[in-house]
Each structure stands twice: as structure tokens, then as C-alpha cells.
């Protein structure tokens, strides 16, 4: 970590201990109590798992294999290299998974944008997805930060509100589904944190010269905060270790900046119908501050909205001659690149806006050759020689 004013402040405390009255309670007690009373089914962690440290010291289990990928509508819709990189890393590390069609969006983006839904509907959508995962035997892994945060809210509401449970149970009965809540709600960035040393072992590039700033997703660590990963070895336990812990393990140059806690400006409603706010906040409070204080080569984050807001907002800001121009991607794409993933066939960087080519060059990746390879594959598909690219094509 560079010796900025922020890192000096952070280093003054070896480890940050939170006051007992600020600690949230462990939800597991209530969860298992309701299970014992026959109110719901708890989908248990099975097979190999890693225990990771959370904000108030409660260990959280992260299952390593046989995961049910709860995809993100924004990632799949307009940042497809995000999802593809998560799958690719899991395949490279040899962990089995299930990519379901029996999955809907959590619909929380819409809920936080428009409020055109209600508590029971949101809980029923969450539990329908959880039941679908349970029926397959695979354990849910949540790709989106907002889905993850919202599902934790839903879990809390269901555990403490019997009337809501009853309402949702009736809806699920119409669908022929049980009321299932997983033992842990796990975000993909927690899985990456859990396997960070395995990723490090498979790196084919040295990223020690790559300067990184991290933007943590609000809905990851502010909503139902007790679940988020905090590690004494990352920012001395004062900031969430999601993303940063992986970057640190990979040996990249993790740099700090003063507006780490600020949101990205996504705004849910604003990104769609009032983007002047999003653009202003993203560039003035995040990108420009990062650039002035840390001068990173890349911004890494771990949520759909954050990649979108931070990446897409920079184009218009350039017209105003603002100090912008840092490529933005998920840490999944960053880790995949380090492990040798194709920048276009896997990481799909051509869907991103801010110029990523100088970054690839600094990483030692020949993007011109890679783009030529991508175009050759595109021509094969256009000629009708093949309808789709497959994992075998990508790994060839």
C-alpha cells in the first residue's frame, strides 16, 4: 500500500476493535431455532469450505464447490465479461458449478429505483430462487452486490416477522416450493477471497507494478453489515477486505484514497433516468479523488452498478476536461486476466467504455493480437461454421 495520508492514518491502529454495543447479533441462532420448530429448511454448507472473518468476528463459511450461480441482470446484460470471468476462474480451479435457467433477478434494482414492489413480493422472489437452488443440491453463490445485500435484508425480515413468513409461505405453496434459507448468504467476491491463494498460485503475469484502487460496493458492506468480510491483515481490519484482500494476495500495488467509503453514484433510479447525478458523483467524488491521491492503473470493484457507474461516467466527464481516464472492471476480470484469461473471449473488455488498452499493455498482454483472435472467431460464426463459442473454444 502506498504511503498516502490515508494509509498513515490507517496504520496508527494495528487492529480496529469495535465497541460491543455496535456489534450485530449472529442471525444463525434464530435461523436454526426456526428450523428446529419446523418453520423453514436451512440449506447447509456441504463439502469443502473456508471460514472467513467478518466485521464482528463471527466466522462465515464459504463453500468452495458445487455452487448455484445466482447471476446478476446488469452483469449479464451489459458487462458479460464479469459473469464469464467468475465461471472461468471456477472452471480453472476445478470447482463444479450449476448455471441455472430456473433463476430470476432478485428484482432489487427495480425495488430500490422505483419502489414498485413490496416486502412480501421481494421476499417471495428471494425464496423462490433459494428453493430452486436447494432443489438442485447446489449452494447459492450471489453474483450481484445488491442481490446479496437485499437478500440479507429479506432474511432478517423473515427471521423476525412471523406474519411475513406466513404470507410468503402461502405464495411458495402455490408454487409447490418449500421455505428455504441458506446457512450463509455468500457473495462471489467472498468466494474469490476464500480461494485467493489458489488464484495467486495460478497467476501467469506479475502484477506487482499494477496500481489498483478498490471501490467497495455499498450494498455489500453497508446493508446488514455484520456479514461482510473484514480481515485484520487488510486495512488493519478497518475497511472491508472484499476485493482488497484478493488484490493484496495477488501482489498488485493496492493504493488507498480518502473517499473509499463513498458510494459510486449509481442511484438505481438515477443511472436510468437522472444520470447527471450519477456522472457528477462518480467522477468528482471517486475517479478524480482516486486519480489525485493514488494515480491507479485500474479501479476494481465487485458489483454491477459500481462497474457501470464508474466506467460509463468517464466518457462525458472527458468532454468537461475533468481529470478522469481510469479503466474499471470487477476483481473477477482482473484475477482472470492474471491467470491468463483471454481479454475479449473471457473478460469481454470490449463492452467497457474507459480505455483499458494501456492497462493491458502494462500487464504484458498483447491486446492487438487478442483482438485479432476474437475477430477471427467472429468471422467463423458469421460464416456459419459454428453457431456459438464454447468453453472449449475459449480455452483453446
Amino acid at each position: 500500500m502506498s504511503d498516502t495520508a490515508v494509509s498513515v492514518i490507517l496504520s496508527k491502529k494495528k487492529q480496529f476493535d469495535r465497541e460491543p454495543d455496535r456489534r450485530s447479533t449472529d442471525f444463525h441462532d434464530k435461523l436454526f431455532q426456526l428450523e428446529a420448530e419446523g418453520e423453514l429448511v436451512v440449506q447447509r454448507i456441504t463439502g469443502e469450505f473456508v471460514e472467513v472473518p467478518t466485521k464482528y468476528g463471527i466466522a462465515k463459511k464459504v463453500q468452495k464447490a458445487n455452487l448455484w450461480h445466482h447471476k446478476s441482470c446488469g452483469q449479464c446484460g451489459h458487462i458479460p465479461g464479469y459473469s464469464t470471468s467468475i465461471f472461468w476462474i471456477m472452471r480453472k480451479l476445478g470447482y463444479g458449478y450449476h448455471d441455472p435457467e430456473d433463476q430470476t433477478s432478485c428484482t432489487a434494482w427495480n425495488y430500490y429505483a422505483s419502489a414498485t414492489s413490496n416486502q412480501a413480493a421481494q421476499a417471495a422472489v428471494a425464496l423462490r430462487n433459494f428453493a430452486a437452488a436447494y432443489e438442485t443440491g447446489y449452494f447459492p453463490l450471489i453474483h450481484c452486490g445488491t442481490s446479496y445485500g437485499h437478500y440479507k435484508e429479506v432474511r432478517s425480515e423473515l427471521l423476525h416477522d412471523g406474519a411475513l413468513r406466513e404470507q410468503v409461505r402461502k405464495v411458495l405453496a402455490k408454487l409447490g416450493k418449500e421455505m428455504v434459507i441458506p446457512e450463509e448468504i455468500v457473495h462471489y467476491s467472498e468466494w474469490l477471497y476464500a480461494v485467493r491463494n489458489e488464484i495467486k498460485e495460478r497467476m501467469v503475469y506479475d502484477f506487482s507494478d499494477i496500481a489498483v484502487t478498490v471501490h467497495p460496493a455499498c450494498h455489500y458492506y453497508k446493508l446488514v453489515e455484520g456479514d461482510a468480510i473484514y480481515d485484520p491483515d487488510v486495512y488493519h481490519g478497518q475497511r472491508t477486505a472484499a476485493v482488497s484482500g484478493l488484490v493484496q494476495s495477488m501482489g498488485a500495488d493496492l493504493r488507498s484514497y480518502s473517499t473509499f467509503f463513498d458510494c459510486c453514484g449509481f442511484g438505481f433510479r438515477h443511472i436510468l433516468v437522472q444520470r447527471d447525478f450519477t456522472r457528477s458523483f462518480s467522477t468528482l467524488r471517486k475517479i478524480e479523488v482516486m486519480k489525485a491521491e493514488a494515480d491507479p492503473d485500474v479501479v476494481l470493484t465487485h458489483d454491477t452498478g459500481c462497474v457501470t457507474a464508474l466506467d460509463k461516467s468517464q466518457f462525458a466527464a472527458r468532454a468537461h476536461e475533468r481529470n478522469v481516464g481510469i479503466p474499471v472492471m470487477s476483481e473477477a476480470q482482473f484475477a482472470a486476466l492474471a491467470m491468463g484469461a483471454h481479454p475479449f473471449k473471457v473478460c469481454q473488455l470490449h463492452w467497457h467504455s474507459t480505455n483499458y488498452r494501456p492497462l493491458l499493455e502494462k500487464m504484458g498482454i498483447d491486446w492487438q493480437k487478442a483482438w485479432h483472435e476474437f475477430e477471427e472467431d467472429a468471422k467463423r460464426l458469421e460464416r456459419g461454421e459454428q453457431e456459438f463459442l464454447t468453453w472449449a473454444d475459449v480455452d483453446a
Partner: protein, 239 residues
């Protein structure tokens, strides 16, 4: 309740522009907000420390304050809360940075509830705030995924740079080049099974979520209702 209209920090006189609404209506709507089962968990009183404002992105670019939201709700200031339902709540980013509150307040959560009531009651300002948003509601409720690749059109996102045009022009081909089989779609984020969609429709109908759409956009509501009823009939499901 006497209106304390001299507070210089208000956007404007708290009842200005809202005098036409009877106090009974205001009382009823604020009553609905406070009757929400989540409300007691979202508010524990306010120190007036302003930490929530310092953390709030919307407070930097709008005349918006999560502290005012918490304070108005704490003292059940019906006039001010009604004004906030009409003017403030749609400025909130729903990032929940305000959960940094040392008292454990959740002003963003209070805003969520206020928005829900504003939509259910069909407030004109809610319709205004969601103008242009109906296509998103249609997409999420009808397909089960919110953002589809075919929404990336240059005329809709001119501020996102020339890459949007590249994606739009090559959409079908580039989607077929994605290795996960579920991602070859263009009208949805991923391939959602028919049965899954029907189950989602049952949820919208059974929980009253579909009814809420009628308050925002009657046309979209009608289209969604017809679509869902037809699908459910095909599957032999009665709601």
C-alpha cells in the same frame, strides 16, 4: 399540529404547494409509513450529529438530507413528512451509506417505505419521478431480468461513449460468442425457463405487486396483466 414554517433550512415553506391536500390525507399516508413493520427497526431517535449527511451522496448534489428524514419521522411531523414524500424521497440514492448512523437509524430504509406508500397511493410526484422508467418495470416484471443487452442503444445512452454503438451493432454475434450457454440471449440478461417466469408472475399477482403498477402506468399495467393471465392460463394455474 402547528406548522413550524420558520426553519431556514427547509427547501421552502413546508406546506407551500401542498395546501390543497387535506390534513386527513396527510395523516393517513404518514400513518401507513409508520405502520409498516420495518419502520420501528429503522428509527431509534436522532442525535442530530449529521454523520448520515456527510456520508450521503445525494446530499452533495441535491437539497436532500437524510438527517431531516430521520428527524421528521422521529417527531412524526406530518406536514414535513408529506412534503418529503412529494419532493425529497426520489433524490435518495438508496445506497444506505446513512446506515453509518451511530444510533442505528436507517433513513434510507424510511425513504424506501415512503416511496412504497407514494407509489401505492398514486401520488402525482411518484408518477413524475418514474416517468421514462416504465420500460424497465415492464422488462423486470415480464422477463425476470431487469437489464437486457438490447437496451444498450446509442440513443438511450449517448453519454456512455461510442462503445455502446459497437455493442448495439454487433449484439447478436457478440452474445453468441459468450461461452456460458445461458448468456446467448439479447432480450433478457440470461435464459430464464418458462416455468420460472410463470412462478414469478404468481408472485407478482399474489402479493399485490402488479396492482402497484396500475398507479404508476395504467397502460403498462394492462399489458402486463394480459400477458400474465395468458401464461398462467396456459399452465393451468389459478390465482
Amino acid at each position: 399540529m402547528p406548522a413550524a414554517t420558520l426553519d431556514p433550512h427547509l427547501k421552502r415553506d413546508r406546506v407551500a404547494g401542498h395546501e390543497e391536500f387535506p390534513v386527513e390525507l396527510k395523516e393517513r399516508l404518514i400513518g401507513k409509513v409508520m405502520d409498516d413493520p420495518r419502520f420501528p427497526e429503522y428509527l431509534y431517535g436522532c442525535y442530530e450529529c449529521g454523520i448520515c449527511v456527510a456520508a450521503c451522496p445525494s446530499a452533495r448534489f441535491y437539497d436532500f438530507s437524510p438527517r431531516r428524514i430521520a428527524q421528521a419521522a422521529s417527531r412524526r411531523d406530518v406536514e414535513l413528512m408529506f412534503q418529503q414524500m412529494q419532493e425529497d424521497i426520489w433524490e435518495c440514492s438508496q445506497c444506505f451509506s446513512c446506515l453509518r448512523c451511530p444510533r442505528g437509524n436507517n433513513p434510507g430504509g424510511v425513504v424506501t417505505i415512503m416511496r412504497e406508500v407514494a407509489v401505492k397511493e398514486g401520488l402525482h410526484t411518484a408518477k413524475e419521478a418514474l416517468a421514462g422508467y416504465s420500460r424497465i418495470i415492464y422488462k423486470i416484471m415480464s422477463t425476470g431480468t431487469q437489464v437486457s443487452p438490447d437496451m444498450l442503444q446509442p440513443d438511450a445512452f449517448p453519454d456512455w461513449g461510442p462503445e455502446v454503438k459497437d455493442v448495439s451493432e454487433n449484439l447478436d454475434l457478440w452474445r453468441r460468442m459468450l461461452p456460458p450457454e445461458t448468456l446467448h440471449t439479447t432480450a433478457t440478461g440470461w435464459k430464464v425457463a418458462d416455468r420460472t417466469l410463470v412462478e414469478l408472475y404468481v408472485i407478482w399477482l399474489e402479493t399485490g405487486a402488479l396492482d402497484m403498477i396500475a398507479q404508476v402506468d395504467k397502460g403498462i399495467h394492462m399489458i402486463l396483466e394480459e400477458l400474465m393471465e395468458e401464461k398462467l392460463e396456459e399452465e393451468g394455474i389459478e390465482v
